[in-house]
């Protein structure tokens, strides 16, 4: 018989288990299937020796099962917390509890203050794409095709993704560190204690600002990247602006701009949401803030790259 998971009721597990032990046909007490699964769950959370009291090392299969359960639990925990955060943000917006002044302030911090680094990144991306294209295509195909390659590369991929990566570092890390510090210094609790809702004050303005400013920043990055690519093409392979723009127009579809700005909108939503979520779950003082900020940057970067990979099959023929 499996040992009873000690302390399950305290974490709410027992409420999920319909019946711990039932009377079997042969008169012996048999465990309910849910008890068995709850036991595995507890082992995953607390470790086998803590639950079983066994001193011997668990088998490889037990360890593997515990790892899988632990990973599943973490994913479900994050998903649930993000869903609750989004629900609260929507409630704050619908209830008009978000100050327009806070949104404008966040738009300034996230948008205006990010313009220099976004422009610099876009210039470099445009130059590199143009030079690499020129190197590959000189003598092979008409050079005006370079205009199309630079434009499409910048608009479809470089502009949105590089801008998002830059914002992960500049904006996302800042949000996580700021909210994480507030969390560990009990400022978030202080908001609740004085009857204020930190989601309305801290989270919602940042998400709204992200949704508004990131598409604008991506539009700027697209424009600057194309211009930089055009200048670079002139200087490196001698392709004039008229030929460059001819090539750009040849394969241009207005859908491409919609695609680029849709990506920007999704990234503009995802970066602050993940950053806020991680910031609000920070624990453990200054070390905890550092650890959570690093994790947040990793999660945001992964989220941007995974969503970027999902966009072509969803929105491009």
């Amino acid at each position: 018989m499996l040992p009873t998971p000690n302390g399950l009721s305290r974490t709410g597990w027992r409420a999920l288990v319909p019946q711990q032990v039932t009377q079997g046909e042969n008169g012996r007490h048999e465990e309910h299937w849910a008890t068995r699964w709850a036991w595995f769950g507890t082992c995953a959370v607390r470790g086998f020796p803590a639950v079983t009291g066994r001193s011997e090392t668990p088998s490889r299969a037990e360890r593997w099962l515990a790892q899988v359960a632990r990973a599943g639990r973490t994913v479900l925990q994050h998903s649930g917390e993000i869903a609750i955060l989004l629900r609260d943000i929507v409630a704050a917006l619908v209830g008009l509890r978000v100050s327009p002044r806070s949104i404008l302030r966040q738009m300034y911090v996230m948008g205006v203050q990010s313009i220099p680094i976004v422009v610099l990144t876009a210039v470099l991306a445009g130059i590199v794409t143009s030079q690499q294209g020129g190197y590959q295509f000189t003598g092979a195909i008409p050079l005006y095709v370079l205009g199309s390659i630079v434009t499409e590369s910048v608009v479809l991929e470089m502009g949105p993704v590089l801008t998002a990566i830059v914002l992960v570092g500049r904006v996302g890390a800042r949000i996580t560190a700021e909210l994480g510090t507030m969390k560990v210094s009990e400022q978030i609790d202080a908001f609740y204690s004085v009857g204020r809702d930190p989601v309305s004050i801290l989270a919602a303005p940042r998400v709204v600002a992200g949704i508004i400013v990131v598409p604008v920043l991506v539009a700027i990055a697209n424009l600057v990247g194309i211009l930089a690519g055009m200048v670079s093409a002139q200087l490196t392979v001698g392709l004039g602006p008229n030929s460059f723009l001819y090539g750009a127009r040849l394969y241009w579809q207005s859908w491409d701009l919609f695609y680029s700005l849709t990506k920007a909108l999704v990234f503009g939503f995802t970066i602050p949401v993940v950053a806020i979520h991680m910031g609000l779950r920070t624990e453990g003082g200054a070390e905890g803030v550092g650890k959570t900020t690093t994790q947040a940057v990793m999660f945001m970067t992964l989220a941007v790259l995974i969503m970027d990979a999902l966009f072509p099959p969803l929105l491009l023929d």
Partner: protein, 260 residues
């Protein structure tokens, strides 16, 4: 004469990785100065935070003025938070707001909407004066520009500005030198008397707590180990309480030697 209970903890259970509170049943009466003692990690601050729903217990409930903190509706919780002032261990002032704005946040939102700027300024001014800070000097300062003792006082001003019925003090003297500690203890006594509030004080400072409070409790192993008067606490024959009192006395003596 026993007054009515204003805070009732009913079977409060809470576990993080390990159990912290294991079925706390406790009534705190109107006008009391109630001290909550216990070793680090005993769950004192956790219990205090459940009072206004900052920590949700795994089981059990807390009632404030007859209203359930966890099973009432959102309005009940807002009303409870409006009538309770919470003084945080490290003040928990909002970094981006100056002292005036920090104290102003202590005014209940609904009352704030109905007030003009002059009235708000007067209340903030009075709250700062009550904690013996010069409003002219500190109002425009950011928390980073204040000393530890001043931050604590601003935190207290924020807790009292809304005219609460109950004050919850989470380790109010932690991190302060003996002079500031004595000053904060005097303020707790004076404010509790002047504002006619019920105070619950979580503290490591046993001697200070026993002097200030008219009833005390000790948490140990997630349960209430002692509940009674300060005199009974001092005279307790319970070996765990005795060990705790002796250790606290020894630590106080070491502190005194270190500062003299």
């Amino acid at each position: 004469m026993q007054t009515r209970p204003v805070i009732r903890y009913r079977g409060v259970h809470k576990a993080f990785d390990l159990p912290v509170l294991e079925g706390i049943d406790l009534d705190i009466h109107s006008g009391e100065m109630f001290g909550l003692f216990g070793a680090s990690g005993a769950g004192k601050s956790v219990l205090l935070k459940t009072t206004i729903g900052l920590i949700v217990p795994d089981r059990g409930d807390v009632e404030v003025d007859g209203k359930s903190v966890f099973f009432g509706d959102g309005r009940d919780l807002r009303r409870i938070r409006d009538k309770v002032g919470y003084v945080f261990q490290h003040a928990a002032l909002f970094d981006s707001l100056n002292v005036f704005e920090n104290v102003e946040t202590g005014l209940p939102v609904r009352r704030l909407r109905a007030m003009d700027g002059m009235r708000i300024a007067r209340l903030v001014w009075q709250a700062l004066e009550r904690v013996l800070l010069d409003p002219r000097e500190v109002m425009t300062k950011l928390p980073a520009e204040l000393s530890g003792g001043m931050k604590k006082r601003v935190g207290i001003a924020r807790a009292i500005v809304g005219g609460p019925d109950i004050l919850l003090w989470d380790e109010p003297t932690t991190g302060l030198d003996p002079v500031n500690t004595a000053g904060v203890q005097r303020q707790i006594r004076r404010l509790s008397r002047e504002l006619d509030v019920t105070s619950v004080i979580v503290t490591h400072d046993i001697e200070g707590g026993l002097e200030m409070c008219n009833r005390v409790a000790m948490l140990e192993g997630g349960r209430l180990r002692f509940l009674g008067s300060p005199a009974a606490f001092r005279a307790s024959s319970d070996p765990i309480v005795r060990a705790f009192v002796d250790r606290a006395a020894a630590e106080a003596a070491v502190d005194l030697v270190a500062t003299t």
